[in-house]
């Protein structure tokens, strides 16, 4: 990156340290797969109405091993395999919820949610409304999501905008093992349907997990989270893109660009206040996502920022995203997913923006 970018950054200075993290006796190192597995184990132990099911979730422990060992520990009544039919899995979840259970179904890969869209959109999302609040749908739908693992077609999709557009659904995506543990435990105790989008490319990355608290304030993990504080520009991301944005921030810091990274976490409801608070400070924003550009969630984020920060924004909110193309084969995957260079170019466009 050229130093000329500095010209566009007001009062450039050394990067601030990352948000304070507490290192307590409750902190342990885990992969996201282990963190999710532990969260589900605890949910099953704490809530006798919780049941986990889907394709290969039982004996195999799921194709990503997220439910590994849970059937052996909690029994075939609590963790079970279903026939291979996503609409059946989700439709069954509705009936189980009506019967007082807390279903935690798994759709094996993002693209396999499409065959279940009718049950998700027309049934799960609407039953609380249709029944006037008498039939809540406490369904936590786990969906291994996004790209980055050189997988076959329909194994690398980003469905957040589609789900977020549906009234009655909530959508969340963790970015690291710590977030995965806490967000899943939180989502799986909610009385409303939550689509839990797991960044499958991050399953095997390890990180510190503080089992006691998710956030520094000790409250529920309901909003967005500043993963790195900065003064010159806010990078907004979720899922696997958060780690990439943190990398970008480190690189930019070498050029004196102090970047704040905001992990949106909840893609519905979006934490508009956190967006406003961050961008009011930095006055510049770039939103990064893997999903295609047009009508992607980046548009929603940009609008929310524009609405709250229009008077102080130094430049239009930039989007660095996938393209309006079907998710490509593994060979072209790296051309599609926003990479470090593309994110840096996005940052450059914002920093170099001149009014008029």
């Amino acid at each position: 990156m050229s130093n000329s970018i500095l010209e566009g950054a007001a009062a450039a200075g050394p990067a601030r340290s990352a948000a304070a993290t507490t290192t307590a006796a409750t902190t342990t190192v885990m992969s996201m797969q282990q963190a999710l597995n532990r969260a589900l184990d605890e949910v099953l132990a704490e809530n006798p109405q919780a049941v986990i099911f889907g394709e290969d979730c039982g004996r195999l422990g799921g194709v990503f091993r997220i439910t590994d060992g849970l059937q052996a520990k909690h029994g075939e009544q609590r963790v079970f395999d279903t026939p291979l039919a996503e609409s059946g899995i989700l439709g069954m979840s509705v009936g189980l919820a009506m019967a007082g259970f807390h279903p935690i179904p798994e759709v094996q890969f993002d693209g396999f949610a499409y065959p279940a869209i009718n049950q998700i959109v027309c049934q799960i999302a609407r039953m609380n409304y249709r029944s006037r609040g008498t039939m809540p749908m406490p369904i936590t739908l786990r969906v291994p999501s996004f790209g980055g693992i050189r997988a076959p077609e329909h194994h690398g999709e980003s469905l957040e905008a589609l789900f977020a557009h549906v009234p009655g659904l909530k959508v969340v995506s963790p970015s690291n093992p710590h977030e995965a543990y806490h967000l899943l435990k939180y989502a799986a105790t909610r009385p409303d349907p939550v689509i839990f989008m797991e960044p499958k490319s991050r399953y095997w990355q390890k990180g510190d997990v503080d089992l006691a608290h998710c956030d520094a304030d000790g409250g529920d993990p309901t909003g967005a989270k500043v993963m790195r504080e900065g003064r010159h520009l806010t990078l907004v991301a979720w899922g696997a893109m958060v780690a990439r944005c943190l990398q970008v921030a480190e690189l930019a810091a070498e050029d004196g660009i102090d970047i704040e990274v905001l992990d949106l976490r909840w893609l519905k409801p979006i934490d508009a206040e956190a967006l406003a608070a961050s961008v009011r400070k930095t006055r510049r924003a770039v939103v990064v996502h893997e999903a295609p550009l047009t009508s992607g969630l980046g548009a929603e984020v940009a609008q929310l920022i524009t609405q709250s920060c229009f008077d102080t924004l130094k430049a239009p909110v930039e989007r660095v995203t996938g393209f309006d193309v079907p998710y490509p084969s593994g060979d072209l995957e790296d051309e599609y997913i926003p990479n470090i260079d593309r994110i840096l170019f996005g940052i450059q466009r914002v920093l170099e923006y001149k009014r008029g």
Binding site: G88, G91, M92, M98, A99, R132, R190
Partner: protein, 348 residues
């Protein structure tokens, strides 16, 4: 067709004369409310209705087998006769046709009747999930609550019906699949809808017992449904019943059957009126007389008047419910939208 083991439901008590008369009274009440609802629509009392004229025996007979203390029923949008038989508040039920609230205003948990919903075959899988929940929960007496799910010959084309039948059979879930084959999916007749000619015949492929019955014979419907319930309740898995009947009216008040079937075809296809058939049977068996029939009709008319009065008295639901009933835990965005609506709406 009857592939249900004879042992299932063996020893069930035959219907008593009082029960037979009750069935007739229910059928008359349903017939009168159904035909009245068409009139309500023509008079502008309700914007639309999906009549079930001709399906009274299938609906009253199957609904009669439900034990509302432990079973649960999953309807489509055409099960008014089932709802009435189960004792659902009919003003609250018919409010869906008044356009008051999509699912109806009745409490589905207390009524044991899932909300009315319009996706054909949408609720069939819900029945399987609910029923599997009964298996997971277990019961002290070893007798399971049974899910009764309704769908038609048209819905049998939906993939969800296949998934539901397969899931239920694999999981041995206590479900009774009750197919009302009424001959028509709006304008498309069964022969252009159901390959092989019978939904019941498909059950064999799932290893599931099935009954194809005369859906216009209310006694046959009660007996078949009771047998199916006994089979499922005992933990033997699901049963499919295909009740052969005929949709005598239009698909809905917006439909024009004249565009796809002639009156002659309608007469031939419909056969004898199920209500009249039952009346003749009760007369022949000396179980009811003209005075009883007159009394039943008078009661049906009084009931319809009461329901109509209730429907006409129903105001719109407060607009705040649009926002308040989306989630159990609302969101800031939704609260903000509700606040904007309140501010900008002249009605509040």
């Amino acid at each position: 067709m009857d592939t249900l083991p004879v042992a299932s439901g063996a020893g069930a008590e035959p219907l008593t004369p009082a029960q037979l008369r009750e069935l007739y009274s229910l059928m008359v009440a349903v017939r009168h409310l159904d035909t009245s609802a068409i009139a309500w629509q023509r008079q502008g009392i309700i914007p639309g209705y999906a009549p079930e004229l001709g399906q009274e025996a299938a609906q009253v007979g199957s609904g009669y087998a439900v034990d509302t203390t432990r079973d649960f029923v999953f309807p489509t949008y055409r099960e008014m006769g089932v709802a009435r038989t189960m004792g659902v508040d009919m003003v609250a039920y018919m409010s869906t046709h008044k356009a008051t609230w999509h699912g109806g205003l009745y409490n589905p948990m207390e009524s044991r009747l899932a909300p009315i919903q319009a996706v054909v075959a949408g609720s069939v899988l819900h029945a399987v999930g609910w029923a599997h929940g009964q298996t997971l929960a277990g019961t002290a007496d070893g007798k399971l609550g049974v899910a009764l799910t309704y769908f038609g010959d048209g819905a049998s084309s939906q993939g969800d019906v296949h998934e539901a039948l397969n899931f239920a059979a694999v999981m041995k879930a206590p479900v009774v699949f009750f197919v009302q084959n009424n001959g028509w999916a709006i304008s498309v007749p069964t022969e252009r809808q159901v390959a092989g000619g019978s939904v019941a015949a498909r059950a064999a492929g799932y290893g599931m017992p099935a009954l194809q019955i005369d859906g216009d014979d209310v006694v046959a419907v009660v007996e078949a449904t009771r047998r199916a319930f006994a089979h499922a309740r005992a933990g033997n898995g699901p049963v499919l019943i295909e009740a052969m009947t005929y949709r005598r009216g239009p698909h809905s008040t917006s439909d024009d059957p004249g565009r796809y079937r002639s009156l002659d075809e309608e007469r031939d296809g419909a056969g004898a009126d199920p209500l009249e058939r039952f009346r003749q049977r009760l007369l022949a068996d000396g179980i009811a007389d003209e005075a009883f029939f007159a009394e039943a009709l008078a009661a049906a008319k009084a009931e319809e008047e009461q329901i109509r009065t209730g429907i006409q008295a129903l105001g719109s639901r407060p607009g705040t419910e649009m926002f308040d009933l989306v989630f159990q835990e609302t969101t800031p965005a939704l609260q903000a939208q509700a606040a904007n609506w309140r501010e900008e709406s002249e009605h509040v």
